[in-house]
């Protein structure tokens, strides 16, 4: 019958209207900024630098290899290497960035810097409320503003951080095993120079020709 | 002959003059609407409510809109670059003067027939309705026939256009 569709539509909107007062889950909006919709785990906004341990300067994972600076499409990263070195998570001395600036007004959140970093040093943050009225420096984040702890990384990206930690621990274990084996080989060699134990030499032989894995590893 | 009458008729005459002399045709149409409104106010000042409101409803609400549509849909909306005076203005003036003379004579000749101090009869809408249905039903039906013919003609002209463009 003519008009039936209109009446059905009116009934539907009336149900919506009345229901919105009665059941809270009908309303699909949240009262921002008092409530916030939780962001998805793989949301990405702008990068941040990860550091291990309590002190950000000492624990920064970045070794200033400048790969992310070169790969960044809009060239929003600016890195200056340091003159000295500090030990990384496996103990090897690495240079660190004296300056690491990201201009987030230029950054387009493509995540390429994260994908190419060999040291798991730069990851994507999910914080988007960065609006500021300082036009000329407010959106230029320096090293200190970018550094966030590994606990924070676990907080925003739990599964990713767990996987990265597992990989880094594995690398560290491999490195330590290699170091231990090298130390044992050195000790055995030192003991072999003494005319005492010739049968320890063939034990150390299978240890040395193993190729040394690159410190850190890729994916 | 009182102050409101002079004010309203000044407005009406000004509107009519503006409708003739303004360069932009749409401005002329709007000035014509002001003249119509002035005439409606004259009707109202004579207590002819029905005539006054019908004047607004029909003249301003329909005839002025029609004039405006006609101006817009043709090329009359372009402001003419040279003068708006036509070459045959003398003949036009003569005809207008003749019409005015006839109307003036008719009005003045009928004046002695009216009583000066008689109270104007209060004509309600009911009386107008009775007159239209009773005494003047034939003119009413003829006007209705005329309007129907005009409507059908408009539809036929529009349909022809559609058939040709199809």
């Amino acid at each position: 019958m003519l008009g039936e569709g209109i009446l059905k539509g009116l009934a539907e909107t009336a149900k919506n209207f009345a229901g919105s007062f009665v059941s809270a889950e009908r309303l699909t909006t949240v009262q921002y900024p008092e409530e916030r919709v939780p962001t998805a785990e793989n949301a990405r906004v702008f990068p941040f630098l990860v550091y291990d341990g309590p002190e950000w300067l000492a624990g920064l994972r970045c070794v200033a290899c400048q790969i992310c600076e070169k790969e960044c499409p809009p060239k929003c990263i600016y890195i200056e290497k340091s003159k000295d070195k500090k030990p990384d998570y496996v103990g090897k001395p690495q240079i660190y960035p004296a300056k690491f600036d990201i201009d987030v007004s230029v950054c387009m959140s493509c995540q390429i810097c994260v994908e190419v970093c060999p040291f798991e040093a730069i990851k994507m943050n999910t914080e988007f409320e960065l609006a500021t009225d300082d036009r000329f420096g407010g959106l230029l984040l320096d090293r200190e503003k970018l550094a966030k702890s590994n606990e924070y990384y676990h907080h925003v990206h739990p599964t990713e951080a767990a996987e990265v930690d597992a990989r880094l621990a594995e690398e560290k274990a491999k490195h330590e095993a290699k170091a231990k084996a090298a130390a044992e080989a050195a000790a055995a060699k030192a003991a072999a120079t003494k005319p005492a134990a010739p049968q320890s030499a063939p034990e150390s032989a299978p240890a040395t020709p193993k190729p040394a894995p690159p410190a850190g590893g890729g994916e | 002959m009182s102050i409101p009458f002079f004010v309203i008729s000044a407005l009406t005459v000004a509107g009519g003059l503006a409708a003739m002399t303004l360069k932009n045709t749409v401005h002329c149409a709007l000035a014509l609407s002001v003249a119509f409104a002035g005439i409606a106010l004259l009707f109202l000042s004579l207590d002819a409510q029905f005539a006054g409101f019908a004047q607004i409803l029909i003249y301003i609400g329909a005839v002025a809109i029609l004039v405006v549509f006609a101006i817009l849909l043709t090329r009359g909306s372009e402001t003419p670059t040279d003068g708006v005076h036509s070459g045959t203005w003398l003949v036009g003036l003569a005809i207008a003067a003749a019409v005015f003379a006839v109307l003036g004579w008719a009005v003045l000749a009928s004046a002695p027939g009216l009583h000066d101090e008689a109270a104007a009869p209060v004509v309600t809408v009911r009386d107008i309705g009775n007159a239209l249905m009773g005494r003047y039903v034939l003119p009413l039906e003829i006007v209705a026939l005329l309007l129907t013919a005009a409507t059908i003609g408009a539809v036929i002209v529009a349909m022809h256009e559609k058939a040709r463009t199809k």
């Binding site: 019958m1 003519l2 008009g3 569709g5 209109i6 539509g9 009116l10 539907e12 909107t13 009336a14 919506n16 209207f17 919105s20 007062f21 009908r26 309303l27 699909t28 909006t29 009262q31 | 932009n24 749409v26 401005h27 709007l30 609407s33 409510q49 029905f50 409101f53 019908a54 607004i56 409803l57 301003i60 609400g61 329909a62 002025a64 809109i65 405006v68 549509f69 817009l72 309600t124 809408v125 009911r126």
Partner: protein, 391 residues
Amino acid sequence: MAATIDQIWIFFLHWLVGFLPAAWQHAAAVVLCVAAIIAVFCTLFALAVLMERKGLGRMQNRYGPNRVGIFGILQPVADGIKALIKEDVVPFRADAVVHFLAPVVLVVTVFMGYAVLPMGRHMVLVDMDAGLLFFFAMGAATELSVFMAGWSSRNKYSLLGAMRAIAQMISYEVVLLLASIAVVMIAGTLSLPKIVDAQASYSGIFPHWYVFTPWGLAGFLIFVIASTAETNRSPFDLPEGESEIVAGYFTEYSGFKFALFFLGEYVEMLAVAGLGTTLFLGGWSAPLSVLNVLPSWFWFFLKVMLWICFFIWLRGTLPRLRQDQLMNFAWKFALPFTLLNLVVTALWRILGPGWEQWVFCTAILAAAYVFMSLVGFRANRVGPRRYRYAE
């Protein structure tokens, strides 16, 4: 006591005007009434805007504005301040005089319509003999302001919007008039207070409102549809469709002039709702005779606001009609139905009181409605769209 509250405005007016010398009293009373009407209906305008935003929000599963004032009550104030402090941009090639006059003409003519609405017992500003005609005359004059707005902006979108708006308003004005004529036929007068008086009687406790008669119900439904179209409300808001032609005929208006257009549109909505209430819903009379203890102006404004709620409800439900669909609906469905309604009203009057008038009139109207909808369905003009897919 109830009678005092009912006539409270009259008493207040007489008390206030009593302070002035006798020669000025009438003029002062008129001025005070006009000021009161403007104040009341501007407040109702603010209320209607707020109701619209909150109501539409709730219908669309969201909150409306709720930041300004508790539950967003001060939102119209914020909107008003915003509109007043915005820069008034007039396009360079626009016709400045006409551009300025268009909103003025609109607001003046829509406020004039309130002069004849009876808002309570003995509470009408001017009791004109041809009151209904005056109201429609003012409605017709608003079309001119729409044209002025659209043309003076020298903008293709504005002009197109104005053309569409005028075509729509003229078509639906015919329908509106004819729907009202049915009421005039039965009431026998064009004067709105007398029309309300004819409806303000009760048989038992049930009122004699015209909407409770078959021809009245049909006329009321047509009046609702035509008034939605007359005021350019959704689903008939193509001329000012926000997603279609920017803003139609008031594209080039900003700041205070836009606020005036907005005000004019809502005030016209309230006026047309007031007219519909007066013609069909019994004006200031209560729905049941026992409820007459509540004042008459309360019932009038309640009915007007319910009408506005229905407009808002309709806006939240229906999509926009296309221009040709709109015009087709007016001339091919609404107008014939309205003419039939006139015939049925005459038949009602001829048959006189009794059961015959109810049965025959209802039967004819229902049969016509069913017939037209079947014809429409068959010709695939109306109803759910049926598709034929390639096999």
